[in-house]
């Protein structure tokens, strides 16, 4: 009896050994996914990680949707001509009823910090990889440029935000509070200084579209300008101009055709490419007026968002060539009726499929540099018909508009003092850079937002006034709830 029992147990053991031998272990690594244990080892790995950091720019929380919502639709430039039930959140952006629970805020916050993670991963891992020293420096410069851009948006949207400059664990994240805006700006400036030193002036061939020295300097100038540090801004702008590689295109329309992507006027663009690869730009479909069918965009839906306001339409001077290139007051439907539904025209292409077009998004272009330079010079000192006037008029002339001068007989073209020049720059920036995510930031930066927005709301008969606290957005509710150390922006 016992003998049999022993035999039986022996049998089970033999089977067990067979099992272990034949069937293999219980350690299985993912086959279809890259596994972090064996990544970030080679130059290619790092290159791919840097590429991924650029891809963040196309996320919904950044240029694909959120930025035009928060930088254009928040301002007097655009709104949504169509509101469905589920788009109420969109109306709250331009109605100034934005609540912390608005999911667009959350998207923006998450996508920006995810972008920062992609940059931090590269910076944390790159020194452990054998790599050409120049290339290593360039990669660092690229991701520090992108990280600075992320933080620049974050501080302008939310004020104080947690400053994360390396990969952090969830435990560390729970303990983190909001970092003072000053400190965040300090980091932004350091990153951009580094980027300006380590990035090339230009690229050729397959690398076109990556961050350049000029892009870093230009954004840095904008950072200084935002902080009203005019001397530093001036210096950086002069460095950009001094690079000698940028100029205005002769025809404003060329900025928006596909043959002139990454042109000499461009300092930095979000790169898009259609074709079902997930890299297409969504703007043609998003901005097309509702019910326009295929009359405006040949393929895909019509989103009716970011539509120019009547006030925007009126902002163009008579004869401004840019107006018809930038927007349309409506469209003619298939039956030949004119439908007065305004839409942005800068990003119109034939999509490959819905939301999949080729148009790049201009983040920074030379006209912006020139206008910033004009603004800086005027802030430092108003000089009647000085260099600042030349810069302003250079931009105006391309648009087919006459010079503005200090003594012009036409009062509309006369700019007599520093304050008037400020307004002239503001006006020129509005029409030159319309629908490129500058307007709201410009109004806030020049402390004109309350005055401008409230006067326009008054004209429209909207009773309540915008408050100071609405110049910042509320910290997203989910973020507040995940971290009790956070204090909400006042007023929300």
């Amino acid at each position: 009896m016992m003998f049999t029992m022993k035999k039986a147990i022996f049998l089970l053991c033999v089977v067990n050994l067979l099992m272990i031998a034949c069937e293999g272990p219980i350690d299985i690594a993912p086959e279809s996914e890259i596994n972090e244990k064996n990544y970030y080892k080679t130059a290619d790995d790092i290159n791919n990680a840097v590429n991924a950091a650029y891809a963040s720019l196309r996320s919904g929380g950044m240029f694909n949707s959120a930025f035009y919502r928060f930088a254009e639709m928040r301002s007097d430039n655009t709104y949504a001509t169509w509101v469905s039930g589920s788009s109420f959140d969109l109306t709250s952006i331009y109605n100034f009823r934005l609540a912390s629970s608005n999911s667009y805020l959350h998207d923006t916050w998450d996508d920006l910090y995810n972008s920062i993670l992609r940059c931090n991963v590269v910076l944390d891992k790159i020194d452990g990889v054998e790599l050409d020293a120049n290339l290593k420096n360039r990669y660092k410069g690229e991701v520090r440029f992108l990280r600075a851009l992320d933080y620049f948006f974050l501080v302008r949207f939310f004020g104080d935000v947690p400053m994360v400059a390396t990969q952090i664990s969830p435990t560390e994240a729970y303990e983190m509070g909001r970092t003072a805006k000053e400190q965040v700006y300090q980091q932004i400036i350091e990153d951009l200084e580094f980027a300006a030193e380590s990035l090339p002036v230009s690229y050729s061939g397959a690398n076109i579209g990556r961050a350049t020295k000029g892009a870093a300097l230009g954004i840095l100038a904008k950072v200084y300008l935002t902080r009203q540090d005019y001397q530093n801004a001036k210096q950086k702008l002069e460095e950009v101009i001094g690079l000698g590689v940028y100029d205005l295109l002769t025809d404003y329309a060329h900025l928006w055709d596909l043959q002139h992507e990454n042109s000499k006027e461009s300092l930095f663009e979000v790169q898009y490419k259609k074709g079902g690869t997930g890299t297409g730009s969504p703007f043609a479909n998003a901005f097309a007026p509702r019910f326009s069918g295929n009359t405006i965009v040949k393929v895909g839906g019509t989103g009716s968002v970011n539509a120019p306001t009547a006030d925007m339409e009126d902002a163009y001077e008579d004869g401004d060539l840019r107006k018809d290139i930038s927007m349309e007051p409506g469209y003619t439907d298939e039956e030949g009726n004119f439908v007065p539904w305004r839409y942005v025209k800068k990003y119109m292409d034939v999509p490959f499929q819905d939301g999949d077009s080729d148009n790049n998004w201009p983040v920074l272009r030379y006209a912006d540099i020139l206008l910033m330079y004009a603004e800086v010079l005027n802030e430092i000192e108003y000089q009647a018909d000085g260099e600042a006037f030349n810069l302003l008029n250079r931009v105006r002339n391309r648009a087919g508009l006459p010079d503005k001068t200090s003594t012009n007989s036409n009062p509309d073209l006369r700019v007599e003092n520093q304050q008037e020049f400020r307004l002239a720059v503001e006006q020129e920036r509005r029409v030159e850079l319309a629908f490129e995510n500058h307007r709201w930031f410009d109004l806030v930066r020049t402390q004109r937002a309350l005055e401008v927005m409230n006067s326009k709301r008054e004209e429209l008969g909207i009773p309540d006034q915008i408050q100071e606290h609405q110049l910042l957005f509320p910290i997203p509710l989910e973020v507040m709830e995940a971290n009790p150390n956070f204090e909400q922006n006042s007023g929300y």
Partner: protein
């Protein structure tokens, strides 16, 4: 040997249950007997022993010397003592033996044979020993003088094994004349007429009625029968006597399974609803075929890892609960639900959520048996919400647009020309609504349609081999247009004794199903039928136009036509599934078996989708780019199991043990293509279009396990079970590869104790208790490993080139481990009056810790969540199950009542006990899981009424934008201001209790069963309310919205607030306004049947026809199609109803015949 065990177990357990019954049946016979009538016929018996080829030498055991102790004891006890000492298994029919009779035993040392004669003195019983070692008894009948009697003879065998059945009672129906079978199962008796009917009965077997029909030789096979409370129960890796079980196991009786088989359902799990205490079945979708079902055994133990039980088909654990669909309900022999740790710990890291064991039917030795059944039915939607008609809608629309315009500074009577945006304007047509269509979209998308089901089965076998082959076909049209389901199923079970002590078997299932689906939820036709206004035609033949709101400028909604999206979009899923199981069972010795089994489960799921260019889709009027997709997922799951089982009885000790090693591994592959740019809509396969995306992925896991269980029973009174399993899983982190899951349980059958035995009314009384650890490994295959994903970037001159990038996707967690549950259970089983009343109660307490949780982490890390082991959840509850046979006789009435209470409490959510917020689509942070509360509370504002008067506005804190007609929001924190701080808990989906009430009636050949199930105290977060209870994007509203606030003169019902195209307050935020009571009582099924079996001269052996109605009626206050339906069913967001496929009421007519 197997048969012997079965008989024995039934005998022992049946003893008390049938004591009184026997008294009443046999009393007259027993007491009338003259002690002198004892007839000894040993010589004849001994002759037969030799003839049987008595290989184990059992007959010699009759010559063994044993010692009898003095005393007066019941006959059964005396016989048991002798059998124990003789090492024989006791087997007898209660109808034969007067078990209660007390006998005087004199002290003596005698042979077994002499001892038996001593004890049996005073009865007409004789005894013998069978080839398998059973001590059996039969009765010597006195010869009666008869006139012209005919003789009928034959053999009775056990259907499953083909072995002869000695001791079977054979009587002529309607008389007491009869005989019993002898050792080789043969009988011979005289009958008055060859037109009589014989009744064959034997305890533990189904009684058979056989009309003689002129024959003189009648051979019969008896099939073993399970009797309530007295049955063999399938447990993990084996079977066990129900009475010996110390864990909490619910068996779904064969009657219940048969009732389920007759119902028009394609997944038998639906049929379990309300049938088993502690098992909550919630049907989350009723689409034909693969509808959603959520099964929770004893509450929700996990927050985000799976909460579904493990399904085990004939020993094969299925990885995906949906695969259980492959099993044809008609193939099921029994279902056991394992609920506590004692029963489930042997499944280790998969045992936390309970285990459902499914045993399929097998063939039995004997004549070939053919069974055919079919039903056909008519289905219609069970209940439908009522919406506004055109007249009411137009008023609603005008109100909303006017109120928005007034809010923007205008006047209600301003013409459109003065209104600045379309969403303030009122279309011309609305001034005379009678010119507009009045479409009831519900009428357009629901239909009354048939369902059909056909089944055939052939089974049988010889002494050494058994087989069963079955096939079925189901054709179900969906009650929503554009949906249907077809399913075919084949199952074959064969087994045979291939050599001495070696049994082999093979089970094979293949199933194929094909479903046409429509989308569920917000963009599905069912939800669209609620929200699309009645002002559009369903089809306009002149315009060739589906009344899609998207293609008209009457309003600027974003919804397409429900009819168009249901009919014109192809969405076809095909499932192919096969399960193969082969085994070899080697009987090493009489007590020791080695079994090795190899199983493979292979499945393939094919989906093809085509959305034509002319279809309007959400927000986008046609034409749209064609969207087409074709995808395939396939998986192969292998299982190799080796077990050693041992059972032995020494005197009063009984041991039953099993030990084993198993290895299970799965590889799943998924690939698909997407295409667009089709030249036209004629060809829908992807070759016609331009492929835009392709994907392919592989995922694997493996599980290696060691397991053991010992059951020990002393004298059928004291019971002990202990189990252990060690699981090693590829899913867990490097630091935690192996887990150990022990359990122990004890039971005490008080009914076996003398002091209880004297109480006649108590037939069964058992107390049992268990404690153990189980686990839950239902996490993603590579959850512990940080992964990276590829993302495309664009660089380069011209329009650029696409370049690959790689970004972090998830964070590693090398400490990741299984969830651990510690479970206590205490149970009581009481049978009264021969088990006419059988009551079972359980109290349990389960604490699950180390919860596997995708913890939302601060997104400043760059990640949204990390899979961690944190937190603790408690489930405790009470379960009651009561079975009563209320009336017995010509008219029978049985009732089953089961009720389960479960309380779910989160004890911890991690180091800081941070509340965990969760969102479902359009319900931002609408769910919270926090300490001291059940999982997934609904979270939001509490709407307590409507500002109907200026006074209300002064009395309640409110938003600056609030005015008359806006909702009153409870100032939860009492600070006088309404803001995010006033959000609070506003409900939970988990019911206080669920119950089932089942009644069965029988009268003559008629039977009637009525099943009712119910749930009380759960709430539903009706996200559909987000569209239909307030003015939302020009959508239609519930009928009750006519009672809304309109003006100070018409303040409404105080619930529905003012209509406004552009609300400025918190109306759109998650609130109690969306929460509804989800309690219900559902008349799940009513079946009326008629049995032909007792009618002679039929061309078949037995037959039955029935009429039934499923989902007859639901009593509930819930608005919406179904209070059970929850389209967002995961742990953290449980209970959100985004409108799933509604249930059907089905009238069926069916029959079963057996040839």
């Amino acid at each position: 040997m197997m048969m012997g065990k079965k008989i024995l177990s039934i005998q022992l357990s049946e003893f008390f249950g049938l004591l009184l019954l026997m008294l009443s049946i046999n009393a007259s016979a027993v007491f009338a007997q003259n002690p002198q009538d004892i007839f000894v016929d040993l010589g004849e018996n001994e002759q037969k022993f030799t003839n049987l080829g008595d290989k184990d030498g059992y007959s010699h055991k009759l010559m063994k010397m044993i010692h009898l102790e003095e005393g007066k004891k019941p006959l059964e006890k005396a016989l048991q003592d002798i059998a124990d000492q003789a090492e024989l298994e006791l087997s007898y029919s209660e109808q034969l033996i007067p078990l209660d009779k007390k006998v005087n035993v004199r002290p003596s040392t005698v042979t077994v044979k002499q001892a038996l004669w001593n004890v049996l003195r005073g009865t007409s019983l004789r005894f013998g020993v069978s080839a398998s070692g059973q001590l059996f008894f039969f009765e010597r009948l006195k010869e009666k003088p008869t006139n012209q009697l005919e003789t009928v003879s034959g053999t009775v065998t056990e259907a499953a094994s083909g072995e002869a059945l000695p001791g079977v009672n054979v009587v002529i129906k309607g008389t007491t004349t009869g005989a019993s079978t002898d050792t080789d199962g043969s009988y011979s008796m005289n009958v008055k007429s060859l037109q009589d009917t014989l009744l064959f009965s034997f305890i533990g077997y189904q009684t058979m009625e056989v009309p003689i029909n002129g024959r003189t030789v009648i051979d019969v096979q008896l099939t073993s029968q399970a009797i309530m409370g007295e049955e063999m129960v399938v447990v993990a890796y084996g079977t066990q006597r129900k009475n010996d079980i110390t864990g909490s196991i619910s068996r779904v009786s064969s009657e219940k399974i048969q009732q389920v088989q007759e119902q028009p359902i394609t997944n038998f799990i639906e049929g379990l609803s309300g049938q088993v205490a502690g098992v909550h079945v919630q049907e989350t979708g009723h689409a034909p075929g693969e509808g959603g079902i959520m099964v929770r055994i004893r509450g929700t133990g996990s927050i985000s890892a799976g909460n579904s039980p493990l399904y085990v088909v004939d020993g094969f654990p299925l990885e995906d609960e949906g695969d259980v669909n492959m099993i044809n309900p008609n193939n099921i022999e029994s279902i056991e639900v394992l609920k506590d740790a004692s029963a489930t710990a042997i499944y280790g890291s998969r045992g936390n959520n309970g285990v459902v064991l499914i045993t399929t039917r097998k063939g039995h030795s004997g004549d070939t048996k053919i069974e055919i059944s079919a039903y056909t039915g008519i289905q219609q939607v069970e209940r439908r919400p009522e919406m506004l008609n055109t007249q009411e809608y137009v008023e609603w629309f005008k109100d909303a647009h006017n109120n928005a315009w007034i809010q923007a500074g205008g006047e209600a009577d301003d013409p459109n020309s003065e209104r600045t945006e379309t969403y303030y304007m009122i279309p011309e047509e609305f001034n005379d609504p009678s010119t507009l269509p009045n479409t009831n979209w519900g009428d357009e998308i629901f239909r009354t349609v048939p369902i059909q089901n056909y089944q055939a089965q052939i089974s049988g076998g010889t002494e050494t081999s058994r087989y069963l082959v079955s096939g079925s076909y189901t054709d179900q049209q969906g009650i929503v247009i554009g949906t249907d389901h077809k399913k075919m199923n084949i199952r074959t079970n064969v087994s045979g004794t291939v050599a001495d002590r070696l049994e082999m078997g093979l089970n094979m299932t293949a199933s194929y199903s094909k479903s046409n689906q429509v989308e569920n939820g917000k963009y599905g036709p069912v939800e669209l039928s609620l929200v699309v206004p009645p002002i559009y035609p369903s089809w306009d033949a002149d315009e060739d136009w589906y009344g899609s709101p998207l293609t008209t400028s009457l309003w600027d909604g974003d919804d397409p036509s429900p009819v168009e999206s249901a009919l014109e979009i192809d969405d076809v899923t095909k499932n192919y599934r096969t399960l193969w199981q082969g085994y070899v069972d080697w009987e090493l010795t009489q007590h020791l078996n080695f079994k090795t089994s190899l199983g493979g489960f292979f499945s393939q799921n094919r989906n093809s989708f085509y959305q034509p260019s002319f279809v309007n889709v959400d927000s986008n009027p046609a034409p749209n780019p064609v969207e087409a997709e074709s995808s395939t997922s396939s998986s192969a799951n292998w299982l190799w199991e080796n077990t050693l089982s041992y059972n032995q009885q020494f005197n009063k000790h009984s041991i039953d043990a099993v030990a084993g090693v198993t290895y299970q591994a799965q590889r799943s592959e998924f690939n698909g293509l997407e295409a667009t740019n089709f030249p036209n809509d004629q060809v829908h396969t992807l070759n016609a279009g331009q492929v835009t995306d392709g994907y392919s992925s592989v995922s694997e896991f493996s599980l290696m396990s060691y397991l053991a269980r010992v059951n020990y029973t002393y004298d059928s009174r004291y019971l002990l079970t202990t189990t252990i399993r060690a699981d090693g899983s590829s899913r867990f982190g490097d630091n935690n590869k192996w887990g150990f899951f022990p359990s122990i349980s004890v039971g005490w059958r008080l009914s076996e104790e003398g002091f209880i035995q004297d109480i006649e009314s108590i037939s069964e009384l058992k107390i049992r208790s268990s404690f153990g650890y189980t686990g839950n490994n239902a996490i993603p295959n590579y959850g512990s490993i940080g992964t990276l994903s590829t993302v495309n970037s664009v660089f380069g001159s011209g329009s650029g080139s696409v370049i690959t990038g790689v970004s972090p996707q998830t964070i590693s967690n090398p400490n990741l481990s299984w969830e651990k549950a510690r479970q206590y259970d205490i149970g009581l089983e009481v049978g009264l009056f021969e088990d006419r009343i059988f009551f079972e109660a359980d109290y349990y307490n389960t604490i699950t810790n180390d919860l596997l949780l995708f913890v939302p982490i601060p997104t400043i890390t760059g990640y949204n969540s990390q899979l961690q082991n944190i937190g603790e959840v408690e489930n405790k509850g009470l379960e009651f199950d009561l079975n009563t046979r209320n009336i017995q006789g010509n008219f029978n009435w049985q009732t089953n009542l089961n009720i389960s209470f479960n309380k779910n409490t989160v004890l911890s959510t991690g180091p800081n006990n941070q509340p965990i917020f969760a969102s479902s689509p359009n319900v931002p942070n609408g769910f919270v899981t926090m300490v001291g509360e059940p999982i997934a509370n609904y979270y939001g504002y509490d709407f307590i009424g409507v500002f109907q008067t200026q006074e209300d506005l002064e009395n309640y804190p409110h938003l600056s934008t609030d005015g008359l007609g806006d909702p009153i929001i409870r100032d939860v924190n009492g600070d006088g201001v309404i803001n995010t701080g006033d959000r609070t808990i506003i409900g939970n989906n988990q019911p206080d209790f669920t119950f089932g009430i089942n009644n069965n009636f029988e009268y003559n050949n008629f039977d009637l069963s009525v099943q009712m199930t119910g749930s009380y105290g759960g709430e539903v977060f009706t996200t559909s309310s987000r569209f239909t209870k307030w003015y939302h994007g020009d959508r239609n509203a519930r009928k009750n919205a006519v009672n809304r606030y309109r003006s100070p003169e018409e303040p409404g019902d105080g619930h529905y607030f003012i209509a406004n195209r552009l609300y400025e307050g918190l109306q759109k935020e998650p609130s109690s306004y969306w929460v509804q009571d989800g309690s219900y009582l559902r008349v799940r099924n009513i079946t009326l049947g008629y049995n032909f079996s007792q009618i002679s001269n039929l061309p078949f052996q037995s037959g039955r026809i029935y009429l039934s109605v499923r989902n007859a009626y639901t009593f509930t206050n819930y608005f919406g199609f179904d209070p059970e339906v929850s389209t967002a069913g995961t742990g953290l967001t449980r209970g959100g109803d985004y409108t799933g496929y509604p249930p059907a009421r089905v009238f069926t007519l069916g029959f079963n015949i057996s040839i």
